[in-house]
C-alpha cells in the first residue's frame, strides 16, 4: 500500500504547476478563514478583558447589562443582600466607568477607571512598579502598561494628572492578562475614590463580585440574586453574553460568517477546479491503471490520499501564514485584537476537510465512471 501511496504522491507533486496552484488555493482559503476567525476571537477576547483581568468567579449585575463595559449602576443594598445569601463566601463591589483625564500638556484623554473594593482590593492587577498599598495614598492610581499606555504620556510612579478637577498621582504600573477593545488606557484605584472622582448617577456599584463557597452553591446564588431583580453570571457566562452581543447584535458575527463563506467558496473553487482538472488530464491514465488491474477502491484511495495530502499541507501553510501575520502585526501594535484559538483551528480544519471532500468526491465519481474499454478504443 505504501508503494501505491507513493505513486499517488509522485503523480501529484511531480505536476508542479498544478500542485502549486492547488496548494495556493487551499493555503489562501485557510489563511482567510483563520485570519478572519482569529480577528473575531481576538475582538471577543478583548471585549471581555475586564472580566478576564478581574478574574471573579461570579458577577452580579443589572439584567440590562450586555457587555462588561456598559454597566448599569446598582444600589448599595444589593451588595448587602448578596453577602447575606447562603453559599456566598464573600462579595465585593466593583466600579467600572469612563472618565476624561487631563494630561500635563493640557489635553484630555478618555480612560477606563476601575474601582477596586477598598478592603480587599479584589481583582487587583499584577504590579510591575510600585507597591499595592500605595493605592490607599492620597490620589493614588495605578496605570496599566498595555498598548494604550502611551496615551497617558507614558507615566511613571509619581506622574500626575487631573481627573474631573481632582488631582491624581500614579503610584504603580501594572500589567494585565488582556488589553481592552476600545483603545482607552486603564487606571485602577479604590472603589471609594473612583465614585468620588468620576461623575456618577445615583447608583454607583457597577458589579458585585462574588466568590461562592463551592461550585454547587452557584445555582442557589443565581436564584436568590434573580429574586432581587438582578442577575448573577459566572465568569464564563458573562464572557459568553459579551461575545453574544458582538456576534448577534453588532453585525460582527454576520460579517464573519459572510467572509468565512467567501473564503470557503474561493478555496473550493480554486482547489476543486484545479484538482478536477488534474484528474481529468490523467483520466486516461487512471483508465489504463484500471485496465492493468487496479481495483476501484485502490484508485479511490489514491485520489483521497492526494486530496488529503494537499488539504493538510495547505492547512498547515495557511495557519502558519495567519500566525505569521498576527505576529508581525503585534510587533507594531501590542494589543492587536487577533488570537488563534483551538476553536478557530478546529473550524479551519473542518473547512479544509470539507474542501478536500467535495473536490475528491467529484474526482472520484469521474474516475469510477471511466471504462477501461475506452482506453482500448482510444
Amino acid at each position: 500500500m505504501r508503494g501505491i501511496l507513493r505513486l499517488a504522491f509522485k503523480l501529484l507533486v511531480n505536476d508542479k504547476a498544478k500542485f502549486t496552484a492547488l496548494l495556493l488555493g487551499i493555503t489562501f482559503a485557510v489563511f482567510l478563514i483563520m485570519f478572519i476567525t482569529s480577528m473575531f476571537s481576538g475582538v471577543l477576547n478583548h471585549a471581555s478583558s475586564t472580566i478576564i483581568n478581574i478574574g471573579a468567579s461570579m458577577w452580579v449585575m443589572d439584567p440590562a447589562v450586555q457587555t462588561v463595559t456598559n454597566s448599569v449602576g446598582m444600589p448599595d443594598y444589593v451588595l448587602d443582600a448578596v453577602r447575606s445569601i447562603q453559599g456566598v463566601k464573600y462579595a465585593v463591589p466593583l466600579y467600572s466607568g469612563g472618565a476624561l483625564v487631563k494630561l500635563s500638556d493640557g489635553t484630555y484623554q478618555s480612560a477606563t477607571v476601575i474601582g477596586l473594593d477598598d478592603t480587599s482590593l479584589f481583582g487587583r492587577p499584577t504590579l510591575l512598579e510600585g507597591k499595592i498599598e500605595d493605592i490607599y495614598a492620597e490620589n493614588g492610581f495605578i496605570a496599566v502598561r498595555d498598548a494604550e499606555f502611551g496615551k497617558l504620556e507614558n507615566p511613571h510612579v509619581g506622574s500626575e494628572f487631573e481627573l474631573n478637577d481632582y488631582r491624581g498621582v500614579i503610584v504603580g504600573i501594572a500589567k494585565v492578562t488582556s488589553s481592552g477593545l476600545y483603545g482607552t488606557p486603564t487606571l485602577y484605584t479604590t472603589y471609594e475614590r473612583a465614585i468620588q472622582y468620576v461623575p456618577n448617577p445615583r447608583y454607583t456599584i457597577s458589579y458585585v463580585l462574588v466568590e461562592p463557597k463551592s461550585a454547587s452553591d452557584i445555582p442557589q446564588i443565581k436564584k436568590q440574586v434573580e429574586a432581587l431583580g438582578y442577575r448573577a453570571r459566572t465568569k464564563k457566562e458573562f464572557m459568553q453574553r459579551t461575545a453574544d452581543f458582538f456576534v448577534y447584535q453588532t453585525g460582527g458575527g454576520t460579517n464573519m460568517l459572510i467572509m468565512t463563506a467567501i473564503s470557503f467558496i474561493v478555496g473550493l473553487s480554486i482547489s476543486g477546479q484545479t484538482f478536477y482538472t488534474f484528474i481529468l488530464e490523467n483520466l486516461e491514465r487512471f483508465g489504463a491503471l484500471k485496465a492493468i488491474g487496479t481495483r476501484n477502491r485502490v484508485l479511490v484511495g489514491m485520489i483521497l490520499f492526494q486530496a488529503t495530502f494537499t488539504a493538510f499541507t495547505g492547512y498547515g501553510l495557511g495557519v502558519g501564514l495567519s500566525a505569521l501575520l498576527i505576529w508581525l502585526a503585534r510587533l507594531r501594535l501590542a494589543s492587536y485584537a487577533a488570537m488563534m484559538t483551538y476553536g478557530d483551528l478546529a473550524f479551519g480544519f473542518a473547512m479544509v476537510v470539507l474542501i478536500a471532500a467535495v473536490s475528491s468526491y467529484v474526482a472520484v465519481q469521474r474516475v469510477l465512471k471511466i471504462e477501461p474499454f475506452d482506453i482500448f478504443r482510444g
Binding site: 505504501r2 507513493r6 509522485k10 503523480l11 485496465a291 488491474g293
Partner: protein, 231 residues
Amino acid sequence: MPKVAIQASGVTKWFGEGDAKTMAVNEVNLEAQFGEMVYIVGPSGSGKTTLLSILSGILRPNSGSVLVEGVDIWGLDSDQLADFRLGKIGFVFQDYHLFPRLTTVENAAIPLILKGKNWEEAVREAGKYLDIVGLKTRADLPPVKLSGGEQQRVAIARAIGSQPDILIMDEPTASLDGDTGQAILSFVKKNILNENRCILVVTHDERIYEFATRIMNMEDGRLKGSEVRAA
C-alpha cells in the same frame, strides 16, 4: 503438447439497442495456446479491439464464455477480475498511456507497485525489464524525452513487469514508422514470447504479419479463418 491459454466460445457483443444496435462481435470461437503469437487482423470497425477487450477481461460480452487457463473469467466479480488482469495479463496500449510526470523506470514499475511491492524494490525490478527492452540508460528520463519507439518499449517493459502469462498488444505499430514497428515486433517475438506465454496482437499493419505464428482474420464481428505461420 501445447497448453491452451485462451478459449472463447460463442462470444457475442453488441452496442446500443433497437435501431441503433450494432453487432461488434458475433458468435466468435477462438483458441490460443502458450507459445503462440496470435494476430487478430482486419479492417477498422471489424470488432478486433472489442474482441481483445473481451478476451482480456475488460469488456463483458453479452453472451458466450472466455476461459483463460481454464478459468471462466466472466464468472469472476469485479475485484477478482481486476486481480486476474493484474496477475495474468500484460497490456500494451495503442497510445502507450505512460504517466508523463513519472520517469521511465517508475512507469515500468507500476504493475509491480500495484501488486504490492514496495517502491524501491519495484523500481529496482523494473530496471531489469527496461534492460530487457534495451532502455536501461533512459531509466531516469520522463517518457516525453523518448522517441515513439522507445515509449512503445517502455510500455512493453511495463506490460511484462508483472510477468503475465498473456500479453495483449493493441495496434502496437499505429504510432510508429515502418522500420521501428518491425523492430519492436521482432524484439517481442525473440525476447518476450516463450513457451509459457501467449501474445495476442490486434493490428491491421501488414508489414508486421511476418512475426505472427498465427493470423486470424476478422470481418464484421466474425472470425473468417485462421492462417498458421512458421514459428
